[in-house]
């Protein structure tokens, strides 16, 4: 097992509300707890006046007294533009979010200091790392970190950056639902279809997973990156604020400290309502008497029902996407603290017609799954394979607009491929590498991912440079394309993340199109390859014709020139069969001529040698 110093890899659930770490030990996966036994580390950072900061429970406690210097829910800011954050969060965050002159990305301002969300997230991760190291008794440098399924490239990259700042190498970014399924798949190698319904503090994800012989495959996902327990808190919070407004003058501003207190109280009420039919609260704003607030479970359920209906709509969409009906679902797994709400359980059960899994603590499932994935990566568990599959083939543009695939669709990451390319024009001093993604034969039907140039090549005849192009997709899904000219040892490279902007449906459409267009694509591709062949034949032949020592007769030269002109005409046309035939015929003919030419050249050389001999 992997519980030894050095190559140990932990699993981290970096949540909107709480974060926690787990590891696979001798007795299976377990949560790494703090000295006081606490497992959940609130994802909150509070900055002190002396320049220091607190993280976790201590920071959360300060959110009441120091709301403007205490940062919570920073996950909502990761990789996001300020505009977007303002639109989504309004003034509910309590701390100041700004953009800078040179970047639209949201940053947090505490006093006169600016922090990126990554930096704040890194402080949370550093605390998680500290807790893990304290629990294990040795250093931890590598981790698997989970993110919501709907995190886009920049959000995933921001998460990786946060880990790096915290002194952790993120070996893999795993989708939370997949980690949850891994956690539940531990005991048996289940076969069938599993739905993971993950309603956390800030995000909702539903995933349809198909499991065969212990192999997990995500068949469909849907969700909303801004739907979770925080929204339910806000529903209660809005009602509390409404009650408060009844007691203070309409123009009075409610102090931020009070707002924070109300936020915490709202969350407390929500928790109580999972156990009881009603809950109440007294709010002391320093008025003559405290303000009483009461809410019943029924009222709460009515308030959150529209959002829960949205989650059910997502479930239906995901099922449709995966091509399964609710009764074909074998297992339903509930993840995230908000699935403790009785109404959530009831609605999910009603929709799928079965009791969902709740055996594991919904707050810990994701971390446990991340630990299992971490264990796989550190070599402790070879039986389990987590599919991180490349959805569309990756390659580069070659002469004539053809698409040369290097990494094919369905390859598991990390994936690597190398191929040799050359030039088609003499004295080319730079080569442009255009990277594409798709299943068609021509790049015009594929998605461009990026481009770069290999410059400063010494001019060489066409076909002579040997350009080694390497594609590497790492475990995090980042594609590195490297081009290296072997003679000059020049190299250049580019890093791209094959866009996650693609939906599963779009991927399927792209593949379907490639099958539908197979006939015309293959024909178009063959035409390009034949044109290239004709071009190369012509270049080679002209080179030979230009050699002064070539003893061709004028008639032969004319014959060849006529053939070349015909090849040229055919190359400009679309008749694949005629061009193929002409290429083959010309190839045979010039082969004979070349043999003759070489023979003549050798003879001439021998004669010259002889004439130089002393007589």
């Amino acid at each position: 097992m992997s519980e030894k110093t050095g190559d140990v890899v932990i699993g981290i659930d970096l949540g909107t509300t709480n974060s926690l770490a787990a590891i696979v030990g001798k007795d299976g996966p377990r949560i790494l707890t703090r000295e006081d036994g606490a497992a959940l580390i609130p994802s909150v950072v509070s900055f002190l006046d002396d320049g220091g900061h607190l993280v976790g429970e201590e920071a959360r406690a300060r959110s009441v007294t120091h709301p403007r210097s205490t940062v919570h829910s920073v996950k909502r800011l990761m990789g996001q533009h300020l505009e977007e954050v303002r639109r989504r969060e309004g003034d509910r965050l309590g701390y100041e979010v700004v953009a800078t002159e040179d970047s639209e990305l949201a940053r947090v301002r505490i006093g006169d200091k600016l922090y990126t969300p990554q930096e704040i997230s890194a402080l949370v991760l550093r605390e998680v790392k500290r807790v893990a190291e304290q629990a294990l008794g040795h250093e931890v440098e590598q981790a698997v970190i989970t993110v919501p399924a709907y995190f886009d490239d920049s959000q995933r990259q921001a998460t990786r950056d946060a880990a790096r700042i915290a002194g952790l190498q993120a070996l893999r970014i795993v989708n939370e639902p997949t980690a949850a399924a891994l956690a539940y798949g531990l005991d048996t190698s289940r076969e069938g279809t599993v739905v993971v319904y993950d309603l956390g503090g800030g995000t909702f994800d539903v995933s349809v997973l198909k499991i065969t012989q212990g192999v997990y495959k995500v068949a469909a996902t849907a969700g909303d990156t801004h739907l979770g327990g925080d929204d339910f808190d806000h529903e209660i919070m809005d009602r509390i604020l409404h009650a408060v407004r009844d007691h203070v003058s309409a123009t009075a501003t409610i102090p931020v400290e009070a707002l924070q207190q109300i936020r915490l109280s709202a969350e407390g009420l929500k928790r109580q309502l999972s156990e009881r039919q009603d809950a109440h609260l007294e709010i002391d704003l320093g008025l003559d008497e405290p303000i009483a607030f009461r809410i019943t479970r029924q009222e709460f359920e009515a308030a959150v029902r529209p959002r829960l209906d949205e989650t059910l709509a997502c479930c239906r969409a995901a099922l449709k996407d995966a091509g399964v009906t609710p009764d074909q679902v074998d297992e339903v797994v509930l993840v995230g603290g908000s699935t403790r709400i009785p109404l959530v359980r009831a609605l999910v059960e009603e929709m799928f017609g079965r009791t969902p899994h709740t055996e594991l603590d919904p707050d810990r499932v994701v971390a446990l799954g991340a630990a299992i994935q971490a264990d796989v990566l550190s070599g402790g568990n070879k039986d389990l394979l987590l599919l991180d599959v490349i959805p569309l083939s990756l390659g580069i543009e070659t002469v004539g607009g053809a698409f040369a695939k290097l990494v094919t669709r369905n390859s598991t990451v990390p994936a690597r491929a190398t191929e040799m390319f050359s030039t088609s024009v003499d004295d080319q001093t730079s080569i442009e590498i255009n990277v594409f993604q798709g299943e068609r034969e021509l790049v015009r039907d594929c998605r461009p991912l990026g481009a770069f140039k290999l410059r400063g090549l010494p001019g060489m005849p066409a076909g002579l440079p040997r350009v080694e192009v390497t594609f590497l997709v790492d475990a995090d899904g980042v594609l590195t394309v490297k081009a290296r000219e072997q003679r000059s040892e020049l190299e250049a490279s580019i890093d791209v993340v094959p866009s996650h902007g693609l939906t599963r449906d779009e991927v399927k459409d792209i593949i379907r199109d490639s099958i539908k267009e197979a006939r015309s694509d293959f024909a178009a591709r063959e035409l390009i390859e034949l044109r290239n062949k004709a071009h190369n034949l012509a270049t080679g032949t002209r080179r030979v014709l230009a050699m002064p020592e070539m003893p061709f007769t004028d008639a032969q030269r004319k014959d060849i020139e006529d053939d070349l002109a015909r090849l040229d005409t055919l190359s400009k046309g679309e008749d694949v069969a005629a061009l193929r035939e002409a290429c083959d015929a010309f190839g045979d003919k010039t082969q004979a001529l070349a043999d003759q030419a070489i023979g003549e050249a050798i003879k001439a050389e021998l004669n010259r040698e002889q004439s130089r001999l002393p007589s």
Binding site: T398, A402, R512, I515, A518, F522, E526, R580
Partner: protein
């Protein structure tokens, strides 16, 4: 999802080829269920080249799967369109060792068409 299991007539993997593939799978310590992935790729000296790969993953809805001499053979529908009728054999003579592809419908076959990447 898989598998229209109707490929007996379109693609043939000979017993020798299947045996050699199983040998490679065993040699690499891979599970017995590891599939042979066939595909056709643009490029190469005759315009297209055939490819055999080790497939670690499940076939999907765009694949056609068949069982030939105990080997799971997977091909994507696009390649199948081009490769239909091809016989995949394994040649083990002194002169030549490797997988071969014979397609009676293809205009020209090419010796370099059998790349084996892992």
């Amino acid at each position: 999802m898989t598998a229209q299991d109707t490929t007996e007539d379109t693609l043939v993997v000979t017993e020798r080829a299947a045996k050699e593939f199983k040998h490679i799978v065993t040699q690499k310590g891979l599970p017995e269920t590891t599939a042979m992935r066939l595909s056709v790729k643009g490029g190469g000296c005759s315009g297209f080249e055939y490819q055999i790969d080790i497939e670690h993953n499940e076939a999907d809805e765009f694949d056609i799967e068949s069982l030939q001499h105990g080997v799971r053979v997977v091909i994507d529908m696009k390649s199948e369109f081009y490769m239909a009728g091809t016989t995949i054999d394994f040649n083990d003579s002194l002169m030549e060792r490797g997988f071969t592809f014979k397609n009676p419908m293809a205009s020209g076959t090419c010796g370099c068409g059998s790349s084996f990447s892992v």
